[in-house]
């Protein structure tokens, strides 16, 4: 009896462990192939993304294309959940000493990897005579796609092969009703539209309860202001442009032209069924608007996009989005990863990506490869022309996420009538300064 007892116990336990734990699958050995191009020995690089479904498929197709050109480099594209899931995963991987070779992430998370000394500065690789960018390349690439991190010696720690732009979305029929033939270019005109049409059931503006820091950045830019100083060490959003923006927001709420959202992406749906006059969104959201409008039973027939209203002569648009960083591994892998990133930023590959995902490409020359796409996507073509007015959000610091939250909370406090615009902005500036101190 005793023996059976011990045996049974040991067996059950062993069984569970054995049955449920097959031996680790051996990683396939890289097949030795001839024809060394840029990488002399075959390498496999791990590319971690937050791109799922069709975007994931598109990236995998590009990896296959890349392999044709560089037979020695195999890129393994892996979806690692949302941007915040991927951030957690990479943080854990850095702690365990097993980061990927290259990964997509928002620059403020990449700033955290820089702090961990887990990613490499790309300046040398960009200047490399063999695999780097030449002068023509540097002229071709939009400056807002090359990420300089002011707190880390102004070095380039990430490059982007996609960006979005914050735009205003308008309902043409409603504008006409208010007596406007085109979208308002000044904040006074915007207010006139609201005064003519807006009521609690048909607001001008819907603010998410998480605030809208990218929208606020757009407003500040459009009033000629900025959020942070160039060295990212001082807060500027509490100055005139910021104060004017916050006051404008306060006025919209005070006059009941604006409401708080109570459902995720309520602004998209409400606009699509004619229950909101304007939408404010990243261009990444436009496909969702288009779907919602198409699917909304023809309640909105005439809509378009425009830059935010402005006080400046030319528009200034907030251009932002995820970038790609290369992790500290071996020199061979780093070079291979850089080649892959360069490929993603190249004209044809980038055009393929744009067609699949609707983001803006890194190069001006990509326009030539997008002629057909422009025809079928007039809104995209329109926004593309504004890229030259683009300005980056100050997203190249770890402080950006807490600053975003501080700005968002200020907007929500104003929206709820919990603080005056001045007070809200003052609180936000204080929190932002704390975050800036912590990030240095």
């Amino acid at each position: 009896m005793k023996k059976y007892f011990v045996l049974a116990l040991a067996l059950t336990f062993a069984l569970i462990v054995v049955a449920c734990a097959p031996a680790p699958t051996p990683t396939p050995l890289p097949k030795p192939t001839a024809a060394p191009t840029a990488a002399p020995k075959p390498v496999e690089i791990q590319f971690w993304t937050s791109q799922s479904q069709t975007q994931d498929t598109a990236l995998k197709a590009l990896a296959a294309k890349f392999k044709e050109q560089n037979p020695n480099i195999t890129v393994v594209v892996t979806y690692q959940g949302s941007y915040s899931d991927a951030f957690k995963k990479i943080t854990a991987a850095i702690a365990a000493g097993s980061p990927p070779d290259i990964a997509i992430g928002y620059p403020n998370t990449i700033a955290n990897y820089v702090k961990s000394e887990a990613v490499i500065a790309l300046d040398d690789l960009m200047k490399d005579s063999q695999i780097g960018f030449n002068d023509a390349d540097m002229k071709d690439i939009f400056p807002s796609f090359i990420d300089k991190y002011p707190l880390f010696g102004n070095k380039v720690y990430s490059l982007a092969f996609m960006r979005s732009m914050q735009v205003m979305i308008y309902n043409g029929d409603m504008l006409k009703q208010a007596g406007f033939a085109k979208p308002p270019e000044t904040y006074e005109d915007f207010m006139k539209v609201c005064t003519a049409l807006a009521k609690p059931e048909l607001p001008c503006y819907e603010l998410a309860g998480s605030g809208d820091a990218s929208g606020f950045a757009s407003m500040v830019f459009s009033r000629g202001g900025d959020l942070l100083s160039e060295d990212f060490k001082a807060v500027l959003f509490d100055q005139k442009a910021g104060l004017d923006s916050m006051n404008f927001l306060g006025e919209l709420f005070a006059k009941k032209y604006a409401i708080m959202q109570a459902k995720a992406y309520q602004d998209q749906t409400d606009f699509a069924i004619g229950k909101c006059i304007f939408g404010f969104s990243s261009t990444a959201g436009l496909p969702y608007y288009a779907t919602a409008i198409k699917d909304g039973g023809g309640k909105v027939t005439n809509w378009g996009i425009a830059p935010y209203p402005r006080t400046t002569k030319d528009p200034v648009l907030n251009v932002y989005g995820p970038s790609t960083a290369i992790f500290k591994t071996t020199p061979e892998k780093q070079r291979a990863a850089f080649l892959w990133l360069k490929f993603l930023m190249s004209k044809d590959a980038n055009a393929d990506w744009v067609k699949a995902a609707g983001y803006f490409p890194a190069r001006q020359s990509t326009k030539d490869a997008l002629a057909d796409y422009f025809k079928t996507n007039p809104l995209y073509a329109q926004a593309y022309e504004w890229l030259k007015y683009g300005r980056s959000e100050p997203q190249f610091t770890a402080a950006w996420e807490p600053i975003r939250n501080a700005i968002g909370d200020a907007m929500v406090a104003v929206g709820n009538g919990k603080a005056t615009p001045e007070q809200a902005l003052k609180d936000a500036a204080k929190k932002a300064n704390d975050a800036i101190k912590a990030a240095q």
Partner: protein
């Protein structure tokens, strides 16, 4: 059941009383069921709507019934069947593991005398008080050093012991009448035999409950799965569901379809287990 088995003859008044009492209970149960069911039903109906209609949430029933959403949801995720199979495999292994380790440990904590018993039990409970996020990184480092990344082991082994289940079973094992133990002693029964032939059958409701909750916990964990896997073919269903939530919008009708699909196996498991669940000690009796 013996509850209504009243020995004295029933009068008409008794019957009337019982009947009106029963109607009240039914009414309350139906109200409660509606409250539990309504949001779920709305979710299922919304999963059959078009994008805008689902989001606008103005009606309960779809104006157009888009059963194609389910096909779309299934097709949108490249590895859906594989994810599904993985999740079931992981859940079944975890449940088997948890039930084995918990039954043994709970029995010791409930019925045996040994030095440090209460301290060991409190330490066990204390592990439930540490937020999961805090142990995420050390656990990942451990799993990586064991070379379990992209291996089912990483998705199963860390979860095959559960303080929750041990605690639950301990409570139930404690309530088994002392007389049974004493009778077993006379029969010359060992602990293990007593456990397997008497305690386990008598504790079926508790075992099923703990198995069910383990199954659900496995069914709903996302972060750990993303952490310890890279190959899509090793991943569970939650990863596929997370993919419907985009950066600038959510394909809500497809997400809700995917959520509905993922509920089905759990409901099937529950309905299968129900039969055993209802037959507990009360109906089996304590004849031992």
């Amino acid at each position: 059941m013996t509850l209504t088995n009243i020995k004295r003859p029933l009068t008409n008044l008794d019957r009337l009383k019982a009947l009106s009492g029963q109607s009240v209970i039914y009414a309350i149960l139906i109200l409660g069921a509606l409250w539990a069911l309504f949001p779920f039903a709305w979710m299922v109906f919304s999963s059959l709507k078009g994008y805008t209609e689902a989001y606008a949430a103005e009606t309960f029933l779809p104006t157009r019934w888009l059963f194609s959403n389910y096909i779309d949801a299934w097709n949108k995720v490249e590895f859906f069947p594989r994810y599904f199979a993985n999740t079931i495999f992981i859940a079944v292994c975890t449940v088997a593991g948890v039930l084995t380790t918990s039954t043994l440990a709970a029995y010791a904590f409930a019925r045996m005398e040994f030095p440090g018993r209460d301290t060991l039990f409190i330490i066990l409970l204390a592990t439930m008080m540490i937020p999961f996020e805090v142990t995420l990184i050390p656990n990942f480092i451990l799993v990586r050093n064991l070379q379990w990344v992209d291996n089912y082991a990483a998705l199963i082994i860390p979860w095959i012991a559960s303080a929750f289940s041990i605690f639950l079973l301990r409570q139930f094992f404690k309530s088994i009448p002392q007389e049974l133990f004493d009778a077993a002693v006379i029969d010359g029964c060992t602990h293990l035999r007593f456990l397997t032939t008497i305690v386990v059958p008598l504790s079926r409701p508790a075992l099923i409950t703990s198995g069910l909750f383990t199954f659900l916990a496995t069914w709903n964990s996302l972060m750990w799965a993303i952490l310890v896997t890279n190959k899509p073919e090793m991943r569970p269903i939650q990863v596929g569901m997370a993919a419907f939530i985009g950066e600038a919008g959510t394909q809500i009708q497809l997400l809700l379809a995917a959520v509905t699909i993922s509920v089905i196996p759990v409901i099937i498991v529950y309905l299968i287990l129900q039969r055993w669940f209802i037959e507990g000690i009360a109906t089996v009796g304590i004849r031992g």
